[in-house]
């Protein structure tokens, strides 16, 4: 097959990224995750499209290959709480069943679980897409995190980021940890797990932003999205030396401590 035809075929591979509540759930530089997905898709020669999914119904929910769900401040989180149930839950459940992925960070991660219980015992139900529950803790976990990831075949096998949360998240049997904590606190500060993987859903407390300094995780998500669209089974190799320098800098500082 000629290179020109191959080029045309590649152009057919179009992935659609959906940013849930881009205007309200974007507290910790979450835009970095979106920029990284779109830029890297472009560098891999893929066509990509971003859909911002605000409050209210959206006809485009079913087109999304990869959802991103970030964190918000309490005020904003309260504003999307009902909308999530009313306008997003059903399509998200259906899309994930059809092989779509979700990357959820911090507040988004908590809202995908069974519930969040506040310090005074009030319980806010999540949408239960992942088998995790979260309870408020006394002390906020703030600082660098280094995780050894459980996702097979990932190189490097570490993820780095920054956490800032008071929730303590515990995994049920259906959710597997995203990784083991080397530095930092992770899900709850006690069982050394960080984040979760359940089917096509990844939940995590890591921002920083997460994907720019972990290009291997970005490509893992993009690769899955491409395969869902019937595309090539592997992505081209990009020059990630700058991204990995930033990754290694965080690793190095963790080791010096």
């Amino acid at each position: 097959m000629g290179a020109a035809i191959l080029g045309n075929l590649r152009q057919m591979e179009k992935i659609t990224v959906g940013w849930l509540y881009a205007d309200l759930m974007n507290i910790y530089g979450d835009r970095g995750n979106i920029l990284t997905l779109l830029k890297r898709a472009e560098w891999h020669g893929l066509e990509s499209r971003l859909v911002e999914l605000g409050r209210g119904p959206s006809a485009e929910m079913d087109d999304i290959d990869l959802f991103f769900f970030g964190g918000g401040q309490d005020r904003e989180q309260a504003l999307i709480y009902d909308d999530l149930r009313e306008h997003k839950q059903e399509s998200l459940t259906k899309s994930v069943g059809d092989g779509a992925q979700i990357l959820a960070v911090c507040g988004g991660y908590q809202l995908l679980g069974h519930y969040y219980q506040t310090a005074d015992g009030a319980r806010y139900d999540g949408i239960g897409l992942i088998d995790v529950k979260t309870e408020a803790g006394k002390k906020r976990f703030i600082g660098d995190v280094v995780v050894e990831t459980s996702i097979a075949g990932m190189k490097p096998h570490t993820l780095v980021g920054f956490e800032n949360h008071s929730g303590r998240t515990f995994l049920g049997p259906k959710a597997k940890p995203l990784g083991k904590v080397i530095e930092g606190k992770g899900n709850n500060g006690s069982d050394r797990t960080e984040g979760c993987v359940q089917g096509g859903i990844i939940g995590t407390y890591l921002h920083g932003s997460l994907l720019p300094k972990n290009p291997h995780l970005a490509d893992y998500l993009i690769g899955n999205a491409v395969r869902r669209r019937g595309g090539a089974s592997s992505l081209s190799k990009l020059d990630d030396s700058q991204e990995l320098d930033a990754h290694d800098w965080v690793l190095g500082r963790a080791q010096r401590r």
Binding site: N26, Y28, D30, P212, W249
Partner: protein, 456 residues
């Protein structure tokens, strides 16, 4: 005479002298710590000595410049002013500033205290100094690891302003929706200020915008004009909430890079050597504060012409034939404005961007992804990522499509590279977080090109 007060003042002063002699900095906060241990009420006692009273200025961005403008105005009118000039804006820094000016006997002989106060420290400052005028400049997302969420800061400020005595003035930036929301709940009507010039506004919010939902119904606010960050002219689509009509408005704004800004307030034309749209807000705030304490409009306009910027706020240093302009840029809203001013107004081509993650900078650097560094793309000739987190900046710039130099974590090497990438006569903009600025400046001092900051 109060013995405890005198002892506290003496101990504080001795600490300040030691700190300067030992070369450990300008003694801008430690004397305050020491004096407060001996007399916890020392700040209240000292500020009670002021013949006129105190002015307190808070907000995310612009505190130092605005406080300096107000001091400049008061001093020019013959008042003796005590101010925490070096940006030491926690309660200890304010205490140290008052101590520094007190006489050995313990009396503070000054007319006005002009204090910039960290947002989170406002309740304590209001309680201890009982200001005559308190100004809130803006509330932007800043250092979430240190301050926590914007909402809790806003609530603290609201409670502090609510506790002010009846006769006190409150000056608020009505263009900032979160500041305006604070003003809704105050017992006394504040003085609102805002910009009224659509020619310098943009139509859409930058990525770093926050606090843009209606406090009543939660709907996203509609912006008819955006000036700086989320500051502009806004309204709730359901009619519950809108930008308060300014009591003092700046119109006919003219911007000349980092060199100058001209604007009209109350029919008075004011031109001053300080650049960027964000400084229009600082000038307007200083004007509103000056008017609240009785200074004449014509005097204010005349006096502002000769103002000199504070440390790291548009400071200019000549270095081996290059003109360096140092601009503190510490959060997304601030950074967007300094980049915009440097690129669009000043047509800057050479940049050092400095990012540190020490406590004073904020230990979480994820906010750099909310800064629109894309503005540099295709316009900047050389961009040097510098500071402790230079590698993170290099990645950010790569994804912004900006071709940058290799990241330099060492200040000396960053300056060497700047010399290599620029020619004599070039102007370079150093946009840095607080301690990244200190590091670069310390290197310039070491090479004999700048004065230590507490002497400026």
């Amino acid at each position: 005479m109060n013995v405890r007060k005198t002892a506290a003042v003496l101990a504080g002063k001795a600490t300040g002298a030691l700190s300067r002699v030992s070369g450990r900095g300008g003694g801008t906060t430690l004397p305050g710590d020491v004096a407060r241990v001996i007399d916890p009420k020392i700040l209240t006692r000292l500020t009670q000595d002021l013949t006129q009273g105190s002015i307190v200025i808070t907000g995310t961005n612009g505190k130092t410049t605005t406080a300096r403008l107000v001091s400049w105005l008061l001093e020019g009118a013959g008042h003796r002013v005590v101010a925490n000039r070096a940006g030491a804006n926690l309660i200890f820094g304010v205490t140290a500033a008052a101590l520094n000016r007190a006489e050995a006997g313990g009396t503070l002989k000054a007319d006005w205290g002009v204090f910039e106060i960290d947002e989170a420290s406002l309740p304590r400052a209001v309680d201890e100094v009982q200001p005559r005028t308190t100004a809130v400049l803006n509330l932007f997302r800043d250092q979430l690891d240190r301050y926590g969420e914007l909402e809790s800061i806003a609530k603290k400020i609201e409670r502090a302003l609510g506790s002010l005595r009846q006769s006190a003035h409150v000056v608020l930036n009505g263009d900032d929706p979160r500041v305006a929301e604070i003003g809704l709940h105050l017992p006394n009507k504040p003085t609102w200020y805002g910009l009224e010039d659509r020619t310098v506004a943009s139509k859409s919010l930058p990525h770093a915008a926050d606090a843009r939902t209606c406090p009543v119904c939660g709907a996203s606010l509609i912006f008819d004009a955006v000036y700086v960050g989320h500051d502009g002219v806004y309204r709730c689509p359901n009619g519950h909430f809108e930008r308060p009509k300014p009591d003092l408005a700046a119109t006919h704004i003219e911007l000349a890079g980092f060199d100058a800004v001209a604007l009209t307030i109350d029919g008075t034309r004011i031109a001053m050597p300080l650049g960027g749209l964000y400084n229009s807000y600082n000038v307007l705030a200083a004007y509103a504060i000056a008017r609240s304490v009785g200074l004449e409009a014509s005097y204010v306009a005349e006096r502002l012409r000769t103002f000199k910027a504070a440390f790291g706020r548009q400071e200019r240093i000549d270095f081996r034939g290059r003109h360096l302009i140092l601009v503190l840029s510490k959060n997304p809203a601030g950074f967007n404005e300094t980049v915009r001013t440097a690129v669009e107004l000043a047509h800057g081509q050479h940049f050092v961007i400095g990012l540190n993650d020490r406590k004073a900078d904020g230990t979480d650097v994820s906010w750099i992804w909310d800064v629109d560094f894309e503005m540099l793309k295709g316009r900047a000739k050389s961009v040097i990522p510098a500071g402790v987190r230079a590698h993170d900046l290099a990645v950010r710039l790569k994804y912004a499509g900006v071709e940058a130099q290799r990241p330099q974590t060492d200040a000396a090497k960053a300056l060497d590279l700047l010399i290599k990438t620029t020619n004599e006569g070039d102007t370079a903009y150093l946009l840095c977080t607080y301690t990244a600025m200190l590091d670069l400046r310390a290197e310039l001092v070491r090479r004999g090109w700048a004065q230590p900051y507490w002497e400026t």
